[in-house]
Every structure is written in C-alpha cells, then in structure tokens.
C-alpha cells in the first residue's frame, strides 16, 4: 500500500469522528430513542401475549423480552453503522473529501480510520440501549456482556464499511438513502432479531443464512443469554469474514474515488 503514515492517518480520522460525535448530542439521542421505542411498544406488547410458559420453547427457552433485547441492540448498531456511510457523502458535499484525497497518506488508511470511528459511535449507541434494556430482561449472563460488545463492534465495523463502499460509488444523498432504505429492512427482519430462525420456509432460511447480520445477532444473543440457532463458532467466523470482506471492499473502492 502506498502513502505515508498509515497509523497516523488512521488515528486522525478516528479522532475526527469521535470529536464530531461528541459535539452532536441530538444525533445520539435521536438514534437511541428509536430502538427503545421498538423494545417498549413492540417488545412489551408481544411479551405480554407470550407470557405463558408454554411459549418459552418457541423462543429457545427464553421469555420474549429477553429473546428480543439482543436483537434490538443489534438492530440499532446495524442501522447506525450502515447509515454512517452517508458521512462520506457529507464530506463530498462540504469539500472535506478533497482534503483527504489530495493527502499523501494512504487513502485506505483514511477510510478505514473513518469507519473505525463511526463504528465506535454506533457501538456507543448500542451500549446505551443495552443498558436501558437490561432491567427488562431476565437471567442475562453479565460475564457475556464484554464479549458481546466486542462482537458487536466487529459487526458494526463491517456494516459501516459496507455503507462506505456504497457511498463511495454514489454522488447524491438521495441515491444513497434509496439503496440503503431498500436493503435495510430486509436485513433487519431476516436476521433473527425479532423471531427465531428455525422452522421457517426454505426460501426464507436461505436468505437468512446469506444475511451477514444473522451471525452477529445469533452470537450476541448466545453470549448474553446462552441460546443459539447457529453454532457460535460458526457465527464468529462468519462475522469476522463478512467484516473483513466489507472493509477490504470499501478500501478498494475508495482508492479509486475521484472528485
């Protein structure tokens, strides 16, 4: 890879995203609110209906809120990460992109740094939501929280990179939002965040197993509650693999970006 100071450029972009995030409280609040509304109005509603113990076996032995909570956290992290790609379009709009493109440091370093920073801000949101959610759940494994956070971060970096890869091929916000909103809902629904993924129609099962988010959701649920649908080792490999591919793809596309 060409260019000077890979780690410095990486650090510069992380630093920038973190400062920007700290200065935008409203953004943080807005993005935390939405998943909490889901959890309360969607989650408590169904949880009351599924209160009877006979339903537990559908949800792999958990009560519905405890089953849903990791899914909601992952939904929040996924949305914040994926939409984070739009920040590249803002940089294009406000000119900052040129500052990066004309610098002698490796463009990949700048891009990956940016993704690491945005993924980190998405993770912070996820942790906030997890903390709000925990009191509603039962028997969550507290020792699993730290590993779950690490896995969440890997997922977050993957989807930030995917958002960046899409954004680097776009030159309008409208185009980006169009693509992202079309694929975002299916990715969330087909990830096992809201309902268990065993015993579904074949076509759906295929889509679910092709969905990169599935592995992250299942692994985080396993770490927090001990239940899983996919072998946790397989989920970990899948998650790491997807993140590596998306990060490499975004870096490759960004190297070729023009103004």
């Amino acid at each position: 890879m060409e260019g000077v100071g890979f780690t410095k450029a990486l650090y510069a972009m992380i630093y920038r995203e973190v400062i920007r995030y700290r200065r935008a409280y409203s953004r943080m609040l807005g993005s935390v609110l939405n998943p909490i509304i889901w959890l309360i109005f969607f989650g408590i509603g169904w949880a009351s209906l599924f209160r009877d113990n006979i339903f537990r076996q559908i949800f792999l032995g958990l009560d519905y809120i405890t089953f849903l909570a990791p899914g909601i956290v992952m939904m929040a992290i996924f949305s914040a990460s994926f939409l984070g790609g739009v920040s590249m379009l803002w940089d294009r709009e406000f000119g900052f992109l040129k500052e990066i493109l004309v610098a002698p440091s490796s463009r990949s370093a700048s891009l990956i740094g940016k993704s690491i920073g945005i993924a980190f801000t998405a993770l912070v949101q996820g942790i906030l939501i997890l903390m709000v959610t925990l009191p509603l759940t039962n028997n969550v494994n507290l020792y699993g929280i730290l590993p779950a956070i690490i896995v969440s971060y890997i997922v977050s970096l993957g989807f930030t990179s995917l958002g960046m890869a899409i954004a680097s091929r776009m030159n309008s916000m409208e185009g980006f939002h169009l693509i992202v909103s079309v694929v975002m809902m299916p990715i969330i629904f087909l990830s096992g965040a809201f309902y268990p993924i065993n015993g579904l129609p074949d076509w759906m099962t295929i889509l679910i197993y092709g969905n990169p988010l599935t592995y992250g959701v299942d692994l985080v649920r396993y770490l927090l509650t001990g239940v899983y649908a996919v072998d946790p080792m397989l989920s970990l490999i899948g998650t790491i693999l997807f993140t590596t591919v998306f990060t490499a793809l975004s870096a490759y596309l960004f190297e070729k970006t023009t103004i």
């Binding site: 060409e2 200065r23 500052e99």
Partner: protein, 331 residues
C-alpha cells in the same frame, strides 16, 4: 533560462464527454515564481489544477509536478504539494486548530512538530485567537486564511491556489494578497494560482498564462503582456491655447509620440509616472495654462479584450457555462 522547472505540462487535454474543458495546454513553471492562470469562469482553470494535483485523470498529454508524473506517481506528487481549493474543504464542526492537527497527521508529520507549526502558522494568518472556535463560526475570509495556513503546515514545495480571493470583500482580498506575497519569501514556496480578477493576476504574478475556452492564448510577464496592447497615454487639457507641436517633442526619453487634438495634447509614453512631472514642468516653462492632466495605463483587462475581443470584466462565463455549473450542483 537556467532556472529549475518545478511544473512541466505537455499538451495536457481534458474532455468531459465530447466537451473539451482543457485543450492541449503546454507550459512550465519555474522554482520560486508565482505563476498565474487568468481567465473567465469556465475557462478550464480548476480542471487544469485538478489534473496537476492528481485528482483528475487527463484525457491526453502529460504533466510533471516536482519531477513526478501526475498519473503514474500520484502519491509522490501529493507529498510535494499544498492545495487551497476553490471551494472550502474544511470540517466546519471542528475548530481551526483541530482541522490543522488532522491535516498534519494525514501528511505524516510528527505530533510535536505539528503543534508548534500550527501556532506559528495561525499567527501568520492572524487567526491565533480563533484557534479553538469551530470553523462554522468563521467568516469566508477567515476560512480562506485558515486554508492557506493549513496548506503550509507540511512545508510544500509547490502551492496551488485556486481563486484564492473569490467572493471576498476588498479588504480581505488585500490581506490575502499580502500573505501570498510574503509566502514565497518567508516560506520559500513556488505558487501556481488561478484567478479571474485581472488586478490580482497583475499584482501578484511573475508570469501569467491567459486561458480562454481551455486554451492558453498568451503567456508572459504582466509587463510584457501589457506592452503588447500599447503604451500608456497622458492627456493634458489646455482648452485650445495655441501651441507649436514641435516644441513638445523630445521633452524626455519616455515620450514616444505626441499629437494635439482640439483641446488636449496626447502623449504616448512608456512610463507615465516618470514622464508626467517633466511634461508639466516643460509646459509651464512654455507659459501654457494646464487645465487638467489624465492618464490611462493599459491593464490586463485591455490585454484580454485585445486577445479575445471580449471584456473580461463583463465576462462571467457564457450562459452555457452557467447552465453546466447549475446542473453540476444538482447532480
């Protein structure tokens, strides 16, 4: 000329579709000079800069910046140059200091050195007191100054300034001119700048390339370009007093020609400020009652007019350029 070339441009062309924005341009820039691209909106100035700074691939032709090929060795070129783009490229949510700090990092400078140089440069552009304010609170002129300071942080060999005073008020423009002039002495940098202001080009540049519709139509020092359109002219109003034209010849060596037209004497001179005092002295000696003295010094505007038949002052780009600009905004 034995001077070292720091930019070498050979038949550079850029086409957008079948529209030729830069057409077979060829020029050299020498170490230590301020070289200007002067031309109306849409002439191809920014497109040329974008090719030289490795952000746009030429359709054909070659360019070398600091000895490196802009297409084949972009990372090497980027290390040698500083750029102030036509439109701001600052992060508005960060402070002036933070913007500079990030710049230093992505140019691979050691942290200690970055911190020291930021303060020095912010003082140079009189922004030191504003270093910790977010850039969104800065005025247009302050943003420009910050960008100039930022572009110097990594000590570039060649600085590209694209319309450095576009849209700024007269005082701010004068201030920026002052920085640019000091730059090359205090920071020892070669400057490639573009402008559509004639006064700016004439005042700052050692050599000017006049560009129109993507072509360089003239390239020389401002003095030589201006000489091309003719001499300076001194008008002395004498309101019909009788005078012998022969007595007006040979007053001094700056005078090239004299004629008398109804109520005024018209001198063509090579240097009006030197010629005027002796002319007046001579006329008073002849007992002539001088009513009024005026002179006209041709400027870059006259040069542009002569070369293109159009007035650069009125020429804010043709309507086609404007449509294109608007379309680009909405793309």
């Amino acid at each position: 000329m034995g001077r070292k070339k720091v930019i070498e441009v050979l038949n550079l062309t850029k086409k957008f579709g079948d529209f030729t924005a830069v057409d077979n341009v060829r020029f050299d820039v020498y170490e230590g000079e301020i070289f200007g691209f002067l031309g109306p909106n849409g002439a191809g100035k920014t497109t040329t800069i974008n090719m030289l700074i490795t952000l746009l691939k030429p359709t054909s032709g070659e360019a070398y910046v600091a000895g490196y090929n802009v297409v084949k060795e972009p990372y090497r070129v980027r290390r040698m140059i500083g750029v102030v783009f036509q439109d701001p490229t600052i992060d508005r949510y960060l402070t002036g200091y933070e913007n500079m700090y990030i710049h230093g990092l992505i140019y691979g400078l050691p942290r200690e050195k970055i911190r020291n140089r930021i303060d020095e440069l912010l003082k140079f552009v009189d922004l030191y007191e504003f270093r910790d304010k977010p850039v969104k609170t800065y005025s247009g002129g302050m943003i420009r100054r910050l960008e100039i300071a930022r572009s110097l942080l990594h000590i570039p060999k060649i600085l590209f300034l694209d319309e450095p005073t576009l849209g700024l008020d007269p005082q701010t423009r004068a201030k920026i001119w002052e920085y640019i002039e000091r730059l090359r002495y205090e920071h020892n940098v070669t400057i490639f700048m573009t402008t559509h202001y004639m006064d700016e080009a004439e005042k700052l540049c050692d050599r000017i390339a006049i560009i129109d519709h993507g072509r360089i139509i003239a390239l020389d020092t401002p003095e030589n370009l201006i000489k091309m359109v003719g001499d300076e002219v001194v008008y002395v109003r004498i309101d019909g007093q009788p005078i012998d034209i022969d007595k007006l010849r040979g007053i001094n060596s700056y005078i090239k020609d004299v004629e008398i037209r109804s109520n005024q004497i018209i001198f063509s001179v090579s240097n009006s400020s030197k010629a005027i005092p002796t002319i007046l002295e001579h006329l008073v000696g002849l007992g002539v009652d001088v009513q009024e003295v005026k002179y006209h010094k041709p400027d870059m505007g006259d040069v542009f007019l002569k070369l293109t038949g159009r007035d650069l002052r009125d020429d804010e780009g043709s309507w086609k350029d404007m449509v294109r600009t608007v379309l680009r905004r909405w793309r």
